[in-house]
Point group: D2
Chain length 253, copies 4
């Protein structure tokens, strides 16, 4: 094989075909998508290769809408606001926030999808086994909300989709099973969106990926608001409050 | 003012109100948005504080759809694919790609909005003045496409919105003015989306912000595809091709 | 030119030569550097292509040591600590902090080097011209320290190097000129390190580059300390303090 | 406890004490460190709280020097070069590279330290057990070098330190044990630096942290060289080579 063919194959992709005056996304000319498919529809297309049905698209939109923001207490939001005051681009500020959406901050959706798959297959025993390994189950419990206002509309939307034959419902039933066994610990937003993404057939790592797309909106909105406030080098607390120093003191004069 | 009030004010925001069992985005309960507003509609809400009309929303969707991907030649796409092979999270891979969407890679939309505003206000003289300062005008010309397939559907959508009284049309006319004067250099995708965002009333820095949200979709799709291919520590070219060394040679044997 | 040659040339570099069983940095076998050259010496080598004299190396070490940390009030430090609680790698936490070292947070050194070069060349007029453009001069003044404890040891080290004929002294004299004209506004750490880097012959953008290498040490130390404290999803303020909400209230009951 | 005390405690640290006109690093006034302690010495101080002996410092310098660069084939280097062509700051380019130093790219040092500790404690059985779990042992084998030129000078330096009573030698013996059992698979640079860091008493996660500090030098040098070459939006391969498209074709005309 020639070296230039090697370099071309090194970057082989089925996602898009870009040639002079040609842009195809998953085999579809971009000009057929502009004006014809929603942003959420193109998210589905790019990740899966086909277009969603209207009912699938509505469900995806509901999940994407639900997790855009959780205020300045969320590390992803706070660091983007601080970044916006340091003389870097708005894109760099958003990247700073997205970088924090790891296993602990948003990653619970990915882990919850694995839990729900397990509970669906072994409803009698899975929850106990997961709890034996870890006191906290991913997607359940919140340090802040006792009833998350996003739970009911999201789970109701999935119930409707089950009734309409759009999705099968096995993951939703698994979520209810876990909720019952953990009562009064409620399902949280990571859990609710995990139900949606699992019912729609997304693989677990894309729960995190879709959360990234959703939360990027809140990160951008907060970074943009901060830009308008004009602070420079914003620290986490006002300069009048000194961090407590817990280290050694210099001995003697 | 007490210190705790200072700390609360340090993080003051009008974007969202988060209290136990309450999540409001721009003053609207999140449960009213889930299922009722599209993802693009919530993007508008979060950045501007109100909801778009259906016609405004369609125009925003068209622009967001148009710039999701430009293949592995785009640095933002390539670095995210490489990142995905280095044992870091999918969120870290997306952040790596987004971090590159700076003044040169995506930032042209922001600069083009300033150009269009200037041409709209001074159609007779602005283009010549911009060209005197820089040979390249932001949002015009492409090293790859002679006719970008995204131009016609985007500009036609704006024309329709002008005809329907949805937008005023001043930025669209400015874009046509620049195209005429630069002929045969065509408007590119940064220019076309700049027309949309300007007509919809977004401030220039948000052209970059909206591009970040759009391109994040392609970045995620490519990072995810790369994950499935199983490479580890993917370099930019195959290991059989050695970078040319142009530095000093060790003297002597 | 064949395509494989093109791909090799696309990645041409004079920084290092890497071939099977061969690693040369700036033309020097790495095995000759290990054990023979200090870390600071290799920093100089990699950025400039030759090795520093012992006196040059001491001066570089002094500047690198001086700016490693400025505590949790510094955005770069705070965001890295928050990142370390989100389930991402220590490298991702350091990258998050480094990403914030932009034009406002650390970039002052780069701008100060340009100021000092101008004052050196036009001592009578440059300061007034810079002040006419901007009230604040880069590298001078601090919101926190009236006398920065790093000023005297750094400037004294440069004075000694001038006396020893190691550096010329023009930038140091320019710094004193500015200090006199701004009295009582003192030179700050960005200004002091700018003097060192300028006297040593580094181009202005590398003032920011060297600051990045220096501050990375503090960022890593803080991220590592935070890891040991075991918090998850650390926000900027304790959860008991709610950010002030300044947006619209939902109307009606 | 008052809220302001809470906010101060939220950011408690033993790393540094920053008060007006006071900067202490690990309890030592910064003015005593400038000019008196090397950059490598301050790295040790910041991570561990005390200063190294001259012999410990030499060993740390040797390891830091050894891994600064591995050329444009290394993803960390390549993405930083590409980032430098996208109109973002030099700090953002370095952060982009550092972000990639994850479990697969540099993280092997951390894992190798755990392997060496296990082999040191159970020399007869540990290697076989690790190999039963994974074909590749962290820190051993290289796809490129059959004999890494950095091995001998690093291991010789550790041997000397053992002879001088500076370090104990248990991790070095463990490394030789693994090399013997894997013959002819050699120890690689991650393994050699893991020996150094383990002998010096660093905990495993700091093997990755120290690698980040070391590789940042090469990342900066390459990003800076790329800046000087003037490319804009540098992709991974020349624009004349098209990535192979492996997806669906649009059917019919």
């Amino acid at each position: 094989m020639s070296h230039d063919r090697e370099a071309a194959d090194w970057w082989a992709t089925a996602v898009s075909r870009i040639e002079p005056n040609v842009i195809e996304l998953r085999g579809r000319p971009v000009q057929d998508l502009i004006g014809g498919v929603s942003f959420a529809g193109v998210i589905w297309l790019m990740l899966r290769g086909d277009l969603p049905s209207p009912a699938q698209e509505r469900l995806l939109e509901a999940a994407l809408v639900s997790s855009v923001d959780h205020g300045p207490h969320a590390p992803s939001i706070a660091v983007a606001r601080m970044a916006a005051t340091c003389g870097i681009g708005l894109n760099n500020a958003v990247a700073t926030g997205v970088n924090l959406l790891g296993d602990v901050h948003g990653g619970a959706g990915e882990q919850c999808m694995r839990l729900l798959a397990d509970v669906r297959d072994r409803p009698a025993t899975a929850v106990a086994q997961w709890r034996a390994r870890d006191r906290y189950l991913p997607g359940f419990g919140h340090r802040f909300h006792t009833v998350d206002p996003r739970r009911d509309p999201l789970l109701r939307a999935v119930e409707q989709a089950v009734a309409d034959g759009v999705v099968e419902g096995g993951y939703l039933r698994a979520a209810y099973t876990v909720e019952q066994q953990l009562h009064p610990v409620p399902i949280n937003i990571d859990g609710c969106t995990a139900v949606v993404y699992a019912e729609l057939g997304f693989p677990p790592p894309l729960a995190r990926g879709l959360f990234v797309l959703s939360r990027s909106v809140g990160i951008l909105a907060h970074a943009w608001e901060e830009t308008g406030q004009g602070r420079r080098n914003k620290g986490p607390i006002p300069p009048t409050i000194q961090p407590t120093y817990t280290g050694p003191r210099r001995s003697g004069p």
